[in-house]
Amino acid sequence: MEARGASKIRSWLKLGLQSMLPQIIAIFLAFIVGAAVLLATGHSPIDAYSAMLRGALGDIFGIGQTFTQATPIIFTALAFLFAFRCGLFNIGAEGQLIVGALAAALVGISFSGLPAFVHIPIALLAGALAGGLWGFIPAILKTKLGAHEVITTMMLSYVATYLTSYMVNYPFKAPGWVAQTVPIATSAQLPHILEPTQLSASIFLAVGLAGLTYYTLQRTTLGYEVRATGLNPIAAENGGVNVHREMILALGISGAIAGLGGAGEVLGVHRRLIDGFSPGYGWDGLAVALVGGLNPVGVLLAAVLFGALRSGGMTMTRVTGVPLDIVTILQALVILFVTAPMLIRYLLRRGGYKR
């Protein structure tokens, strides 16, 4: 039994590496092309990349910044992944993240005097519920009325953005110039785990959720039914799976995951809701889910890569004067190469690598 377990783990590792090979190659290619761009614009790729690496992982501040940036992207990527496994394109993680942040902030500022072990869970739950609602609405529209979720989730994102913007500009605006709420109660704050950086306990939540997502998809009846629905709804229905129910659950859960990410940002990083706090974490999540090969472990790695690009990019700009746009170019290249599996497969074949 022991030996069998060990060999199983080994074969999983091997399989995992094999299945991630295209992603690794894609990242490698992106950096090569990125180097060409740097050279063409008169910069030294070696200087730029080493500054970037130092900035991302060279000191405690960089590491903190890298993981702080990666955290919300893990949530939104898991959100996209979960719905995708049910055959649904949830491209509204941005909005679900934002309403999650709004709900958590409201709970965070509305109560005082609660013990932290009550206040934090309630605020997180509020975030998850709000995000879940933002996933539930398109799910109902899809299953009852046939409205395509790509349209509805995206539209609802705008609703979320403007609703939140209204909330922090009018009813819940803190005194002063900035469009933001007052700080949340200390009892609702998620602790910082790497002072002096902003990295908060939210990252534990994100990593735990990645594990839970994997477990749910692979080891539970819910995950089984979600995957069956995603792969072949007709056969799933024939096998007694209520396909509509699965879709509603999957989009709801997907929204809740993103909402939880938003709550984590408010409770852990900003400690208040600031208008426009998300620089597009929802969209990054979509890219990270793809780069991560649509599996939770891959998502963790890819999110750290994207976080590192963001935090390292700032240092690179400060030190070498290379514009920050190179980071956007690198991200775009990674996505481009990941979504061009034919090219990667061709390269693998040329390299004598056979499946």
Partner: protein, 507 residues
């Protein structure tokens, strides 16, 4: 008398992994005639026509068009040779108008750049008039009923210069009225000297429209007959065959309790037209009730209604005297209904799931596989999967291999293993041996008989009369959404069944 063949296909052989789709087929189409190609689904009609239209190359065999040997590289070659095809699923752009669709790919231009819409309209209008095919050329496609869309497909083929028109199951999507209109159009085409190949599995249709009919069965030509020299009964027999009947151990069983009772069941088809027009049936324990009939007479809808996949509009379904008319598919599975679906790739299996995952589909939410209704117990599922793999001789490397990699016969074993191993009370088996080779066919049939002998009630729907004959304790004949007769196999014969299947009265 092969006077002037427009098309001649000789010795066509085409295999797909595990399937011999066309087995040495000779097929001739006379110029200016309407040639019928008759056969059940899976008999190889569409494959043969796809070869003719250049969609795939044959493994062996020659094709002659107007007496000259040709090689079909692609549909472009076929079109150049004057062959046009009207597919079962239309290839039209819904948002474009009729005229725009017709000229698509061959747009008339002014000065080689500008689209010449006036010229287009004039040209298209001319061909509409000469074939009596009336269409509003400026209407967008999506606003038109299916029958008119099909007319546009025909016009498109003619516009591209087709002299030979292949029509793949053209009436399958039409209402009876639309079908009548189509027949008029097809006759008009013939009068104008066009040649038509009319693919169908509907006997009456080919008899009423064709000059000559070639019957295919299991990838082989059964024969070619002139319409004047044949009749419904004979065609039905040719189509469903009369091979040597397999012998099975069918001990007489005593269990006469009613397992499935269906009372004046009605349901609609996908187009919202009545498909089941009041079905009454009883299936007893230890009995195989065979449902014979030419496909498209409501069999698919009957199965879907019984399994809960299609809504019942009227009538009742009882399983062991309990009404299940409104029950969900899941409840029906729990109550003991197993279903071997007609389309195993689409409905029977999740091809990207592993063998194991497929084997528990439908039981996945119950013990012993689901612990506390939530967690999947992999120890139990893989033990169960290994047992079924050996019991049903499923040829797979392991229970973790995706079923996508298995051959057709092995895939059907997976479906069968799953459906027969959850102690069903009623098994609904729909075309269970379609597309399978002789060995797999025999395996499936013997398993069904074994289940019967163990006390299961079995509803067997098959377009293959041999199968019905070999397995059934009683035979029900379906025609146009009704059970027109229930026969004792000892007291009937092929003649009578053929006649009943074709809508005639029994003697």
């Amino acid at each position: 008398m092969l006077m002037n063949p427009a098309i001649q296909m000789k010795g066509i052989i085409k295999t797909f992994p595990g399937v011999l789709a066309n087995d040495n087929i000779d097929f001739v189409v006379e110029k200016g005639e309407i040639q019928g190609l008759l056969g059940e689904n899976g008999a190889g009609k569409t494959v043969l026509m796809s070869i003719l239209y250049g969609l795939y190359p044959p493994d062996e065999g020659q094709i002659y068009v107007n007496g000259k040997e040709v090689t079909m590289h692609s549909p472009a070659t076929a079109i150049r040779l004057g062959i046009g095809m009207v597919h079962q699923h239309f290839m039209l752009v819904p948002s474009l108008t009729v005229a725009e669709n017709i000229i698509l790919g061959r747009e008339p231009t002014k000065d080689k750049i500008l689209l010449d819409m006036d010229k287009t309209l004039k040209e298209v209008k001319a061909s509409c008039e000469s074939y009596n095919l009336e269409v509003d050329l400026k209407a967008p496609i999506y606003t038109l009923p299916v029958g008119i869309q099909q007319r546009v497909e025909i016009l498109k083929a003619l516009y591209r210069g087709a002299a030979i028109l292949i029509m793949d199951e053209p009436t399958s999507v039409l209402t009876p009225q639309e079908a009548t209109e189509l027949f008029k159009a097809v006759r008009a085409l013939k009068e104008k000297g066009k040649t038509v190949v009319f693919i169908s599995h509907k006997l009456r249709e080919v008899l009423s429209i064709c000059d000559r009919i070639t019957v295919l069965r299991r990838g082989k030509v059964v024969g070619t007959v002139r319409v004047g020299d044949t009749n419904l009964g004979e065609l039905a027999k040719m189509m469903v065959g009369r091979e040597v009947v397999y012998k099975f151990d069918k001990r007489l069983m005593k269990g006469r309790e009613v397992v499935l009772k269906v009372e004046s069941l009605k349901a609609l088809d996908d187009r919202g037209l009545p498909a089941l027009k009041g079905i009454d049936l009883e299936v007893h324990a230890s009995e195989i009730l065979g449902v014979a009939g030419v496909e498209g007479n409501g069999q698919t809808e009957l199965v879907e209604t019984l399994t809960g996949l299609r809504k019942t509009t009227e009538g009742r379904i009882l399983l062991n005297y309990t009404e299940i008319t409104g029950a969900s598919p899941e409840e029906r599975i729990r109550l003991g209904i197993s279903h071997v679906p007609e389309d195993r790739y689409k409905r029977g299996l999740i091809s990207d799931f592993s063998v194991m995952e497929n084997l528990i589909l439908g039981s996945h939410n119950r013990p012993p596989f689901a612990k506390w209704g939530v967690r999947l117990d992999f120890g139990e599922t893989s033990k169960y999967a290994q047992k079924l793999i050996s019991d049903f001789s499923i040829k797979t490397q392991s229970e973790d291999a995706p079923v996508r990699h298995l051959s057709g016969g092995t895939q059907q074993r997976v479906v069968l293993a799953r459906e027969l191993s959850r102690e069903p009370k009623l098994i609904i088996a729909s075309q269970p041996t379609r597309g399978l080779d002789v060995g797999a066919t025999e395996f499936v049939r013997s398993k069904l008989v074994e289940m019967r002998n163990l006390g299961c009630a079995i509803l067997l729907i098959s377009a293959d009369l041999d199968e019905i004959w070999a397995l059934s304790d009683r035979i029900a004949v379906m025609y146009e959404g009704k059970v027109v007769a229930i026969k004792d196999p000892q007291k009937t014969d092929e003649e009578e069944l053929g006649l009943l299947m074709a809508g005639g009265k029994s003697g």
